[in-house]
Symmetry: C2
Subunit: 208 residues, 2 copies
């Protein structure tokens, strides 16, 4: 594999989609696929696919295409999916609960090991074997457990304060659903999620 450093974030963001399609092909015992076939099923141009995959040294062979399994493994490796991640969820509201109930995360190596909330009515409740803990005990929990990623489903007004605290506590990743864009803090990488972005992409398509 080539040096990853030059791969743009736009390409990285497309990789999970490749991974899904390749997994489907693997499950159907399909051994190889051309960029053209991949293009049809994924609804992306073949040239875009070749360009994306060339980025990390995966060149399809003329008349053969791509080997499905090795491409799948390469992308999985690139996305850091050959290890497990310990997650905590901060904010046990609807989005938090939806994420807790989403079984695919565990299959992909993302394990929820703690849930936190400030609401006394919800503290002590158990979701999928995880008791909701008092926010006041967050620091202690992080000190005692290895946390890779904190998922923030908090009110906007609390987000930056909690993100800074997590960064001080050396949590390496924050997956932020709080509808507030925050940038990386020191060594903490932050991925902001805005559900309405894709809704706006849909409204664009409806007016095309």
């Amino acid at each position: 594999m080539e040096n990853n450093k030059q791969i743009s974030i736009a390409v990285i963001r497309r990789l999970p989609r490749y991974l899904r399609y390749l997994k489907e092909l693997l499950d159907k015992d399909i051994e190889r696929i051309s960029s053209k076939e991949l293009s049809i099923s994924m609804n992306i141009t073949a040239s875009q696919i070749r360009q994306d995959l060339n980025n990390f040294g995966c060149f399809g062979q003329q008349g053969y295409g791509y080997n499905v399994e090795s491409l799948y493994l390469e992308i999985k490796k690139l996305l850091g999916l050959f290890r497990t991640y310990n997650l905590i969820i901060i904010g046990a509201g609807n989005i938090g609960q939806a994420l807790i109930n989403y079984e695919n995360f565990a299959l992909q190596g993302f394990r929820i090991i703690g849930i936190f909330d400030v609401n006394p009515k919800i503290i002590g409740f158990s979701f999928k074997g995880n008791e909701v803990r008092d926010m006041d005990t967050l620091g202690e929990f992080i000190d005692e457990n290895e946390i890779d990623i904190a998922v923030l489903t908090l009110p906007k007004s609390k987000t930056l304060e909690v993100a800074k605290f997590l960064s001080e506590k050396n949590v390496k990743g924050i997956w932020n659903f709080s509808n507030l864009d925050i940038q990386d803090i020191k060594n903490t990488k932050i991925e902001n999620v805005h559900l309405s972005d894709s809704l706006m992409t849909l409204s664009y398509k409806l007016n095309e």
Copy 2:
């Protein structure tokens, strides 16, 4: 504005982010901004910004930059946000409820006018003034109301069947949270959401 047809979907997907930043600037009464300043606050290269905005005929002026308000209005227009959309939510589980409770959608012109579920325990419950209706009454409701977008938060196994039904009923847009990629059906545009895609982007960053 130039003809939109050539604008790639990758550019369109970045527009909601521009819109958010421009809104923040507007709220601070900032009249103009250079691609360089926008670049710093959005963490995108200035050249990418110029390239993106050139796509739809917005050229910054040398020594002036972009007019914040006109750029904001242009992007809002392009995304089809100068009208309202009637939404129905199909599946009143955690994700469905999170979307119902998300107040920003209404502010952006997306109005939830119906909620449907198959679960008798939840049918009849009211969320934000919307009663959960029996899935059996979906067809009738669509016939009697103008629905622009159906939001699917259903089990994967039911998704395609329901999407086909909605397309036959001439619902123009589907926002699909069912973790199953479906492609546009006839005149119905489909936008698939995979929450784990951005989680994988984060795991990539943690291993960079």
